[in-house]
């Protein structure tokens, strides 16, 4: 492979001299550099939160935390939705419906996110966020309880076959796994911002606002500020914050990696309905 690679580079260098190639490559390299900076910034910012989630999850797993408590803990104090990448192995031990509800609620309606939403976007969007998340969480729980679905192999390994959760993993392993779940979303966001920068502008209609929220996937602590700036109307703000936490690439990638593609698809469908409910509840308070 190395020989083929080196040979290809040498042949390419012979065919196209640097004074021809470099001017053509320079703009592409500049774009790639910006995409890398955007993607890296997402991972660098999220890393401390993933680390905290990983440490708490490891401690809880080692202490043999109750399966119900394992799902409730992140709902009360996740810190930020980025921490969910760390908490996921802990939540995966809970019964499927509770795990489903916990994954949706912790990401979208954690205390800090609710506080920021109320302070910046007002009571109407605050209530819409709760209503939409409740619907999305309940529908996901219903879907996960009814479907005969197997979790992803990465979530439980060989233990799943015997119907038991996998043995506790180390904090480093959970941290690395959380980073891996974040990388596809960060890459997508970085490339999209470079390829189509004009999507990052104000959107008055709920649908484009939701698409923008899902694409840039801001932290739950910051989505209210961005919604205020990028979505001038309350219905669009509700759609933005809901989609940013429940339909974003970061959340869906984490769900797919931890619980499997089909469960992630159910969560996405339920979250779409949750978004619609949030928009409806703002328009018809």
């Amino acid at each position: 492979m190395a020989v083929i690679g080196v040979s290809t580079v040498v042949i390419a260098a012979c065919c196209w001299p640097p004074d021809v190639v470099l001017p053509a490559l320079a703009p592409l390299l500049a774009l790639a550099g910006r995409a890398w900076a955007y993607a890296a910034s997402i991972v660098l910012e999220a890393a401390p939160y993933i680390l905290v989630g990983s440490l708490v999850a490891t401690l809880a797993l080692r202490a043999g935390a109750n399966r119900i408590a394992a799902a409730l803990l992140p709902m009360v104090a996740p810190g930020c939705d980025c921490s969910m990448n760390g908490y996921a192995p802990l939540i995966a031990r809970a019964p499927a419906p509770l795990a489903a509800f916990s994954m949706i609620w912790s990401a979208s309606c954690n205390p800090i996110a609710l506080f920021a939403t109320h302070a910046i976007l007002g009571a109407a969007v605050f209530k819409a966020r709760i209503a939409g998340t409740l619907v999305a969480g309940c529908l996901t729980a219903l879907g996960w309880s009814n479907a005969r679905l197997r979790p992803a192999p990465s979530a439980c390994g060989a233990g799943c076959r015997a119907g038991r959760p996998r043995a506790p993993r180390s904090a480093v392993e959970i941290f690395g796994s959380g980073l891996l779940a974040l990388v596809p979303a960060a890459t997508l966001c970085g490339v999209a911002l470079v390829a189509a920068p004009h999507v990052l502008r104000a959107h008055a209609a709920p649908l484009p606002a939701a698409a923008l929220g899902a694409l840039i996937s801001p932290c739950s602590t910051a989505d209210a500020i961005l919604a205020r700036v990028l979505a001038p109307l309350p219905a669009a703000q509700a759609a933005f914050v809901m989609a940013a936490q429940t339909l974003d690439a970061r959340q869906l990638s984490l769900l797919a990696r931890t619980f499997g593609m089909r469960r992630a698809a159910i969560a996405a469908a339920a979250s779409l309905i949750g978004c619609a409910v949030a928009v409806f509840s703002v328009r018809h308070p």
Binding site: A40, C189, R228
Partner: protein, 210 residues
Amino acid sequence: MIARCAAAAFAGVALLACVSGAYSSLTTLRAWCAWCVAVFAAGTVRDVKTLACFAAGVGAGCALPHAAPRPAGDVVTHAPKAGYSGDLFALLDRIDRDPAGVIGERVSVSGTWGAAAADQPATVSRRIMSCCAADAVAVGFDVVPKRRVSIGRAAWVRVTGILRSRLADGEIRYLLAAATVCRLPNGAPKARSARPPRGPAAKLSATPCE
């Protein structure tokens, strides 16, 4: 093993970003926090494979910019309402509370200059970064200068003009019409989000503010 390799590669990127200052320019994290997570991740480097991943991470970290990249997208003319300080944010908040009371007034704001492009008007804006460089947004006003302005992009300026509103692509945008633009010295803004750029762009000649 894959997770450990990911953590090792991250450690390489993060440590280099801490050393070069890229961590603080690309994120809102405190330096000590960035160092803690980088050192924790570096603890995964224990064998040849993870060392190779760490080295690859260091290489990738070299490509990170030392200054924050300019925000993607257009300048947005809506108030963030999140406690940002500065005359530009104060004016946006006033517009947010009572647009009719402010439109038509002669106002003055300071921010980063964005020269006019083919299909875009000139702008004065400030960058808000609520989380990381990827979700940084430029917030400010369109500017229609009274006369031709020869100020380089990203220079720190004061713009004085009459506030108007217009409809563009179904969105209400606010602009400063018949505006005068003057360049401010570096270091005027105190807010982190409003830090002016250093370098050649800021040194271009323009009318100094009186």
